[in-house]
């Protein structure tokens, strides 16, 4: 259980991997700020579930792709829950298409939300973490950042970018007891992968999609004190798909 005075911020926290991560971190004792863009009901439901389980959570509406969002998110979280010592960059969007037909807008939208926003939030998060001499940042990448997936060149670029950013920022701040890691989920049953899973299942060695909870468990570990010597790593959570 957490004994530190501070909170965790989870972006894309209203549903899927983000909601499962928020619940897992709350179960470990972290007060959790759940950042959501549009689905206020889902964010509130996640907060309510955490409260019912004896935890503490606070919803924050923000579009992480907005350049001013990082300061607003951290100020809101810190006012309500204390200094942010954990950041999970989970918010992500897809705008698929084969490269010859991928528009500038579809490229920019995915890079802005999935990569640039994660950098801005990371940069902002490091301020309180450097002061506290403690921090945990986990970036939710994807196996698509590690292995080809036709139709997702924008998504792949963003997720591969997250993996690279994770490594370098980890090296920059390691001596301050701040770890920066990534998880790379494979096919996980969420709203974002709905309709894709049946075709994929037979290619996955464990023969099924993963659950958001199975990814959240890995994030929970990377946030824990037990993971203090793990930094700059990308933990693949894909049922053996890329093995």
């Amino acid at each position: 259980m957490v004994t530190r005075e501070g909170c965790a911020i989870v972006t894309g926290g209203s549903r899927g991997i983000g909601a499962a991560t928020a619940r897992a971190l709350a179960a470990d004792g972290w007060p959790v700020a759940i950042v959501y863009r549009a689905d206020a009901d889902a964010a509130q439901a996640t907060c309510d579930a955490i409260a019912a389980a004896g935890g503490r959570a606070w919803p924050i509406q923000a579009d992480v792709s907005d350049a001013t969002a990082a300061d607003a998110i951290f100020e809101a979280a810190e006012a309500e829950l204390g200094p942010a010592l954990v950041l999970v960059n989970n918010a992500g969007v897809r705008a698929d298409g084969l490269a010859p037909q991928l528009s500038d807008d579809d490229w920019a939208t995915v890079i802005d939300t999935n990569l640039t926003a994660a950098f801005r939030l990371t940069r902002r998060a490091l301020k309180p973490m450097l002061r506290a001499r403690f921090g945990r940042i986990v970036n939710v990448a994807s196996i698509v950042g590690l292995q080809a997936n036709p139709g997702q060149s924008n998504y792949a670029a963003a997720k591969a970018g997250l993996v690279g950013m994770t490594k370098t920022v980890a090296a920059e701040v390691a001596r301050r007891n701040i770890t920066v890691n990534a998880v790379a989920p494979g096919f996980i049953a969420t709203d974002m992968t709905e309709g894709l899973l049946e075709a994929m299942a037979e290619r996955i060695p464990v023969r099924r999609a993963g659950t958001p909870e199975e990814v959240a468990a890995c994030i929970r570990f990377l946030v824990s004190d037990e993971a203090s010597y793990v930094t700059g790593a990308t933990l693949v959570v894909d049922g053996g798909l890329t093995a």
């Binding site: 301020k127 450097l130 002061r131 920059e172 701040v173 001596r175 301050r176």
Partner: protein, 82 residues
């Protein structure tokens, strides 16, 4: 910010911050270089944050390249806070 930011105050705050970063209190002085203090680039980033939070003075990474001693930082903060 024209009131009451004196060089003495800033120097005392900067020196105190450097000691919390691990610099030897006996070596810390206005003329000390980062090498002498064994202050690294991440320490300087943190020092810039302290200065920004407490004096509302921004020190960029470009500025940092020209700030080679404690005194250089103190002078810049006093100048920009004036």
């Amino acid at each position: 910010m024209s009131t009451a930011v004196t060089a003495e105050q800033v120097e005392a705050r900067v020196l105190a911050a450097l000691v919390t970063f691990g610099a030897d209190a006996d070596v810390v002085s206005r003329d000390a270089t980062w090498e002498q203090l064994e202050v690294d680039s991440l320490d300087l980033v943190e020092l810039a944050q302290v200065v920004e939070d407490e004096y509302n003075v921004e020190i960029t990474s470009q500025d940092m390249q020209h700030l080679l001693t404690v005194g250089h930082v103190v002078d810049m903060v006093v100048e920009r806070a004036a």
